[in-house]
Amino acid sequence: MATMPLTANPRRGAKVSRKRGQLVPALLFLLPALLGFLAFFAWPAARGIYLSFTDYNLLSDPEFVGLENYASIGGDSVFWRSMVVTLQYVLINIVVQTIAAFALAVLLHRFTKSMVIRGVVMLPYLIANVIVALVWYWLADYNLGLINSALDAIGLDRIGFFGDQQYAMTTIALVNVWRHLGYTTLLIFAGLQAIPGDVYEAAAVDGAGEWRVFRSITLPLLRPVLAFVLVVTVVGSFQIFDTIAVTTQGGPVDATNAITYYIYDKAFGSFDFGYASALSVILMLILAVIALVQMRVLRANQSDLER
């Protein structure tokens, strides 16, 4: 989730009083979102944190156990394994997706004005996650799938895309790259369009080549948008669940047992809601730190255009 940077400046006290009259309407406009935030985010989060300190099976009352859940997470080998495979997923998913989306966005920006092509790029994103997962699951089937039949036809060995421990998580990461590529491309493309045309004209007058333009103009001016894209996609990527739930269900041998799937399994499979809540709190902390670091490092709320 992206947080809009607040620009409260204490030095401009005089202006604040002039704006006070706008406070009431402002609050009114914020109210619906605030209610949603409180009901569907703040309250569940607070309750989740509380439950993480309890032994709770949903069917009888929660029992306070202090830090016991957190203490057991340290020695839980399945948890550590799930963190490793989650990181593996995030790394493959984000690196491939960001580079491909960037390339695609630049191509769209520089070389075509066709709405049809822009539309086609977005198409996979319009298909429901579960459908995408099932279609690829069938396409990549070892015996009957189109991909393996093609590999076989050109004399290559068949690959257990979803069934081989070595490939399962990579496959799932790439399936989601395919689905989210269009959306990420669109975000970057919007950022590209926000770069004023005159800087490109100036570069052209100076005789800069395509690569030089990209390196010295496009890339630096796109930084805030890229930062936003990275924060959103990394946080989303850590929460990979649906593709796993409808294909491998954490297998083979826990190779795709990502953290959210593990949390789900602990809660709704083992009825261990206390432990699952503790795992969720850990995940929330990890994501908060990652988002914060990304915002800082990439200076997401500053643009090189304002100088």
Partner: protein, 455 residues
Amino acid sequence: MKKSLATTATLAIAVGALAGCSGGGSDDGSSEGSGQGGDVTTISYGLWDSNQLPAYQQCADDFAAANPQYTVDIEQIGWDDYWSKITTGFVSGENYDVFTSHVAYYPEFQKNNQVLPLDEYIARDGLDMSIYQDGLVELWQDPDGVQYGLPKDFDTVSLFYNVQMTEEAGYSAEDLANLTWNPEDGGTYEEFIAHMTVDKNGVRGDEPGFDKDNVETYGLWMEGSGGADGQTQWTFLTASLGWEQTDGPWATSYRYDDPVFAETIDWWYSLVEKGYMPTFAAQEGISWADQLIAGKAAMVPNGSWMTGYVFGAASDTFTPAVAPTPVGPDGQSWSMMNGLADNISATTDNPDAAWEWVKYLGSAECQDVVAEAAVVFPAIKTSTDKAVVAFEAGGVDVTAFTGHVDDGTTVLFPITDNKSDVNSIMTPVMEAIMSGSAGTDTLADANANVNALFE
């Protein structure tokens, strides 16, 4: 039992199709009788299998006709969402009055006092519990022998195969009914599997020059590792060696460290090494039933609940049939047996009304209706026989499945506490073994971890 993807998908589609008609059924038909006071009590009932909905809707209509003071409102939700709905229903207090239950879930509900005991009702109404197939009643008792459900149906395991392939290879139905197995050389069961395996060049698995890395049709299909239960994978083999997961219902220890179990799994995995069965990586994906239908496998052991799906797919290239599981060293063909029952939610406002409906569901009147539908085997012995006839009328010989209850060659689905944790431990271990990345020597440690759950 792990539902196959195809089944789930089919169910999901069926849910959508049926959602439109399930609501309207209960509106009228309730107020026809002149019950004193005119109040009609509505009993809500949940079930997950859309294939069984028509039969149970019929039961509900018959029940309401005979008991005008009651009406039954059935809601059908696919397996994946069903259990979330039931669980959250307990928390909100708005659960179904009565719901179809599974032994993998009900121990948790029972432990938390979310389902009602039935003993007093059974005693009051003098129900004869011996009408049900042996073993089914015990599945629905807690460790103290308190009854929580009346058996409604049961399932067993047999071998689904493609007649066109076996006949071409020279096997008759009688040959298939008399296959033998042992863990040393696999017996005639392995000979059959080897002969039915065909590589890309048309060379069979028991012929010289067989290319095990390029198999076109596998003699036997692997449907996952079987995890902790091996319901359709290996329990029918281990049972013939006298091995079961536990000592019986509600046992507090498991036996995965027994050499007999390791020996069976070693033999089973040897089929992968010989190329007679797909590797673990190769079996993940499109369900076993579709692989069988597509001719990628000659035979697959699986449960009676898949009968409708498999026989519904008969075509020019696929003629389905069912054979009993192979005869083991003890001279018997074995199967795991599991069954469903109906539980009453502790949250119900009308336990007496709920009981009347449960009693009707567990009666021959309703189970005969279910038998007619020829979808599952009803739990009452006489109704089972009627279902066999109904299946036969549809051209499906299911005696391989029902033979097990006639012969008493069934082992019960292992029901214990901590079931889902047992699964969480055993599934990765079994997957590693069947992937070839670990040996059966890892079973001892796994068993220690499992048994630690009960300390």
